[in-house]
């Protein structure tokens, strides 16, 4: 065995490639401190660690208080704390580095994946249960009022007119269930439209009570028509305005914008980093401890890959369904196209609720991942927790 080589509790261990003998000169190491690894039994350097004089080289300024404060938690996280004795073992230190790196990456990945996943799936449920039906309800109301206006000119009152007014009123009530429209501002707009529809129906009925061809009949019908069609303040203008806002809400819910691209890119990078760290740690353990596999780390790797594949698949399916829905609702619909669009929207967005609910499993999976990384390395780390007798 090479003198000064990092020794381990097991004879002969630590001879793998990439392991630097007596490494103690890495950045961040300070003389005279145990370096997060108390000299213990099994560490050949424990009793021979020389003490360096606590003298700063000339011309070097001591780090400021703020810098020291900042450095402490950073060092704690990376394990780059006080270095081991100059000629001591680095195994414990390297284990600690990997241990903390795996935990940190797992935590970051879990958070990043959760937020990225939520960014797509959190909108799927409101889109399915609220926004898309609201757009179709407004389409229905507009179509019904158009039909009602055609019936309003009939020489005698017709039941078709009443039916269309009822359809319009019911459609507005359905649209009011939408989260966006249901807010105070949207609700007020809908109530105004509902009030106007009532007034419109009354004026049409007043016109129909007058003799056919009379001036009063024409007058009442003109008042009704202005209530329905007046520019900017008529019923149709208001419904179209609401519809425009609602379509914008659908657009917002279904778009995969720059923020989501950034979040998913960060998730991909963190996944690569964690995957690489898991493999490197596996390799490190294999060389250092002569164990072919660390089963817990393998389980963590499988969990990582499996979880990622599932979440990506779920996200692609949901996003595709949302994009199809947006394309379908992006134009005004009328007549029989409206119920047909309702059926197609329901099929596009089927199972999105289940997939959205899977978000909580990301957090659970993240905790499991960290638990596997922790237990996978803990045994080896604990091997170094010995004090000299």
């Amino acid at each position: 065995m090479t003198a000064g080589r990092g020794t381990t509790p097991r004879a002969g261990d630590g001879s793998g490639p990439g392991f630097r003998a007596g490494d103690g000169s890495g950045p961040g190491f300070r003389a005279g401190n145990g370096g997060g690894m108390t000299p213990r039994a099994g560490d050949g350097s424990a009793t021979t660690a020389p003490t360096r004089p606590r003298v700063r080289p000339a011309g070097r300024r001591a780090p400021g208080r703020a810098a020291r404060r900042l450095a402490a938690p950073l060092a704690r996280l990376t394990g780059a704390g006080p270095r081991p004795p100059a000629d001591g073992s680095t195994t414990a230190h390297e284990l600690a580095v990997r241990h903390r790196l795996l935990l940190a990456l797992s935590a970051l990945l879990t958070l990043s994946l959760f937020l990225s996943y939520q960014g797509v799936h959190a909108d799927a449920n409101p889109l399915r249960t609220s926004s898309a039906p609201a757009v179709l309800s407004l389409d229905t109301a507009l179509y019904a009022l158009g039909q009602a206006q055609q019936d309003a000119g009939a020489p005698a009152p017709t039941s078709d007119f009443q039916k269309q007014i009822s359809v319009a009123a019911q459609s507005l009530a359905a649209a009011a269930a939408d989260d966006d429209i249901g807010r105070p501002a949207g609700r007020q707009a809908l109530q105004t439209v509902a009030g106007l529809i009532t007034v419109y129906a009354v004026k049409v009925q007043q016109s129909q009570l007058q003799p056919d061809g009379s001036v009063l009949r024409e007058a009442y019908l003109s008042y009704a028509t202005s209530i329905l069609t007046e520019e900017r303040s008529g019923i149709q203008a208001r419904l179209k305005d609401l519809q425009r806002k609602q379509r914008a809400a659908v657009e917002r819910q279904t778009s995969f914008g720059p923020l989501l691209w950034t979040a998913w890119s960060a998730t991909a990078l963190l996944t690569l980093a964690l995957g690489a760290a898991l493999l490197e740690t596996q390799r490190f353990l294999r060389h250092r401890f002569r164990r072919r596999y660390n089963r817990r780390l393998i389980a963590a790797t499988v969990l990582l890959l499996g979880g990622l594949v599932v979440t990506v698949l779920f996200t692609v399916w949901t996003q595709q369904g949302m994009a199809d829905t947006r394309a379908l609702l992006d134009r005004p619909l009328s007549g029989r196209l409206i119920p047909d669009a309702g059926r197609r929207t329901a099929s596009y967005l089927a199972h999105t609720g289940f997939r959205a609910a899977a978000a909580v499993w990301i957090l659970i999976g993240g905790v499991l991942l960290m638990a596997l990384a922790e237990t996978g390395l803990r045994r080896h780390i604990d091997d170094y927790r010995f004090r000299p007798r």
Partner: protein, 439 residues
């Protein structure tokens, strides 16, 4: 070399439960942190999307709505970072009624009718404005104190009625001749849900100018019968002026034309009409701007009096239905002299705020200054639009009756009888006073 060959075998391990406890602790802490962080991030993003909102219902649409948004709402939103959801509709009364019945009224409402507001106040739907608005800023006739001692509304905008508009190039002789020609009057009765109100303005003004504020006030308070000779005479006089039941083309035009388009024939050549009996706000219409519209008091032009005996006025009155912090801020903003001045400068109406006095040197046009001074003239009697002061049911029936009367003046007796019956209904709220000085 290891100082202790055999490593772990010779080592003295720590207590066996420590690693387990540490693991549990670490996992618990990390999981909790993750959950809290994720929840905080999601909640934070959602909270950022929310913006405090106040809902406002009024009757301004079209250009008036644009002016209102620019002069009043936009500065408020910029200053307080509160979103104002404005709904403007001429069916405001019906919309508000439905909202109140449904239990979801807007936070703030601007209504033209003090009669309707008094009814809501009686139903405890309105909130007193003491502490938010100094009623002394508007005078007792505008910010009326009700029987319970509270003030529930104040005017955001006021307008002068009892005036007749004509193009600048129409001389006095031509005007006098035009008065007796129904075709010379620009009449538009259409106003969507509130169609017919221009006719009520005519009848109210004729009654006021012919019989004075005393009779007018008794009628507006429900104390004078609709079938009284004064009221009946006012209806008949109006019918004669605008040709009720006469030329079918003229009647059709008057009934079907929206009030804001009534003056369009002024711009035609030859002119389709010359005179318009309408409130001061109509001067903002492009036709009257282009014709450099001038005004004359209806008392002088129609009845040949030396001057108006009294002026009919109208106002858009602000009331509070939900005392949210945002709504209170909006009320204070609307009652402030700065906001009232900004609104007045748009010439969509006038402010009667004590601190917004017309300045002879300001840039406002002569007609605007003159009307503003008349509105504030302490020697003149100002009476609120009677139909606006009446209970909403009577007001709406009155407007409907003017439409029918214009087409069928012979139905007058039946129409007035119906209005009398309606006015005697129980449960109606009549205002105790509609004029600013006791006649």
């Amino acid at each position: 070399m290891s100082a202790y060959p055999g490593g772990p075998a010779t080592a003295a391990p720590g207590p066996s439960s420590r690693p387990g406890r540490r693991l549990v602790r670490t996992v618990t802490v990390v999981a909790s942190c993750l959950a809290v962080l994720a929840a905080a991030l999601v909640a934070g993003v959602r909270a950022l999307e929310e913006e405090p909102t106040v809902t406002l219902l009024a009757n301004w649409t079209g250009d008036d709505e644009t002016n209102f948004r620019e002069a009043v709402i936009a500065p408020f939103e910029r200053k307080y970072h509160i979103n104002v959801d404005y709904q403007g509709s001429n069916a405001e009364s019906q919309v508000l009624g439905a909202d109140v019945e449904a239990g979801t009224p807007p936070d703030v409402v601007v209504l033209t009718g003090p009669g309707e507001l008094a009814q809501y106040a009686r139903q405890k739907q309105l909130l007193p404005l003491e502490g938010l608005v100094d009623s002394a800023d508007f005078g007792a006739s505008w910010a009326t104190r009700l029987a319970d001692g509270h003030v529930y509304w104040f005017p955001l905008k006021a307008d002068l009625k009892s005036i007749v508009w004509y193009p600048a190039d129409v001389g006095e002789r031509q005007r006098e001749r035009a008065v007796r020609r129904p075709a010379a009057w620009c009449v538009g009765m259409g106003s969507g849900a509130t169609s017919g109100w221009p006719g009520t303005d005519w009848i109210e003004d004729i009654l006021l100018q012919r019989y004075g504020a005393g009779v007018y006030q008794r009628w507006a308070r429900g104390e004078l019968s609709w079938r009284s000779k004064q009221v009946k005479a006012a209806w008949t006089a109006w019918g004669g002026l605008v040709g009720a039941g006469g030329d079918p083309g003229l009647v059709r035009r008057a009934l079907k034309t929206p009030y804001e388009s009534a003056s369009l024939p002024v711009a035609r050549s030859p002119r389709g009409c010359t005179l318009e009996h309408q409130a001061s706000f109509i001067r903002k219409r492009p036709v009257w701007q282009h014709a450099d519209g001038r005004y004359e008091s209806s008392a002088q032009l129609i009845f040949g009096a030396a001057g108006a005996r009294a002026w009919e006025v109208s106002g858009d009155l602000v009331a509070l239905l939900h005392a949210t912090p945002e709504a209170k801020k909006l009320i204070r903003h609307l009652a402030s002299a700065g906001t009232q001045r900004a609104w007045s400068e748009k010439e969509s109406g006038f402010s009667v705020h004590a601190d917004v006095r017309p300045d002879p040197g300001d840039a406002a046009s002569a007609w605007h200054r003159s009307l503003a001074l008349t509105l504030r003239d302490k020697r003149a009697v100002h009476c609120f639009d009677a139909s606006d002061a009446m209970p909403p049911a009577v007001r709406d029936a009155f407007a409907e009756a003017t439409i029918e009367f214009l087409a069928h003046p012979r139905h007058l007796e039946a129409l007035l009888r119906s209005l009398d019956t309606l006015s005697r209904s129980r449960g109606l709220t009549w205002l105790p006073s509609v004029c600013d000085r006791s006649p």
